[in-house]
Amino acid sequence: MKTAVIVFPGSNCDRDAAEALRMVTGHAPAMIWHQETSLPDGLDLAVIPGGFSYGDYLRSGAIAARSPITRDLVKRAEDGMPVLGVCNGFQILIETGLLPGALMRNAGLLFVCERTPLQIENTNSRFTRSYGETREVTIPVAHHDGNYFADNETLDRLEGEGQVAFRYLNNPNGSIRDIAGITNAKGNVLGMMPHPERAVDPVHGGTDGLGVFESLLGGTA
């Protein structure tokens, strides 16, 4: 499996994401600097890691969404390449328009860092299928702007099409309809606020994040 992690100035979960990918796939991912203009050919997955790309100034993810590498990423995602955006990666995907809605300041106005129980809404997606019968997982969140918002029409569509991937069981940030992660209509792009790469080793206190990476191993869904 050929994977890549995109690194923006201010990304800070790039190493963690790379380690999780190496652990699951047996290969180190390519680390792609934001100034590059194209991703390697034949990628099975591109990960946009968490962090504070460009300081998260203006709006979280806004500047990264307009950087050189992102243009190619959007094109490839539209062609069907799987893309996983975690935390800041989710914010960036939203800002590119690949995923609908907006991620606003947490309702409590504070940064939240906690291990969060999640409901897996769709266990058939290419990002969740290895969870099998498991419906409930615990994965940590750490963010200031994770409060998902979209208009009702969009929300109904997301729910109707099975695009809600994860829901919070104990909403930490005010997200509308408890949404923690969504996919695009084609199902090849997932954005989620919780950090699966922080739950892949028993010393993390749990390995519930592994499933997200393992699900991708089986080829295209």
Partner: protein
């Protein structure tokens, strides 16, 4: 030339920051405050000379980067 851009949250979009501001003001005894909303103020210095063109360009900046149309509205004030 200078541009002053006011960025507002759209009506209907929840504004927890504004709500917190209104509540704290009331707690401090400013009972006359019935609501608050918090937005952004972006000031740009421009080397442009033509006001009309500058206005077009700043609008493009707002649409391409400075604001998020899903949740925000904006207005632009240009001055020499």
């Amino acid at each position: 030339m200078k541009a002053k851009i006011h960025v507002y949250l759209k009506p209907g979009v929840l504004d927890p920051q504004g709500t917190a501001v209104a509540n704290s003001l009331k707690t401090l005894g400013f009972e006359e405050v019935t609501g608050a909303r918090q937005g952004k103020l972006i000031e740009l210095d421009l080397s442009s000379v033509d006001a009309e063109e500058a206005s077009e360009r700043v609008k493009a900046m707002c649409d391409k980067l400075l604001t998020n149309p899903v949740i925000e509205n904006y207005d632009i004030e240009l001055s020499a």
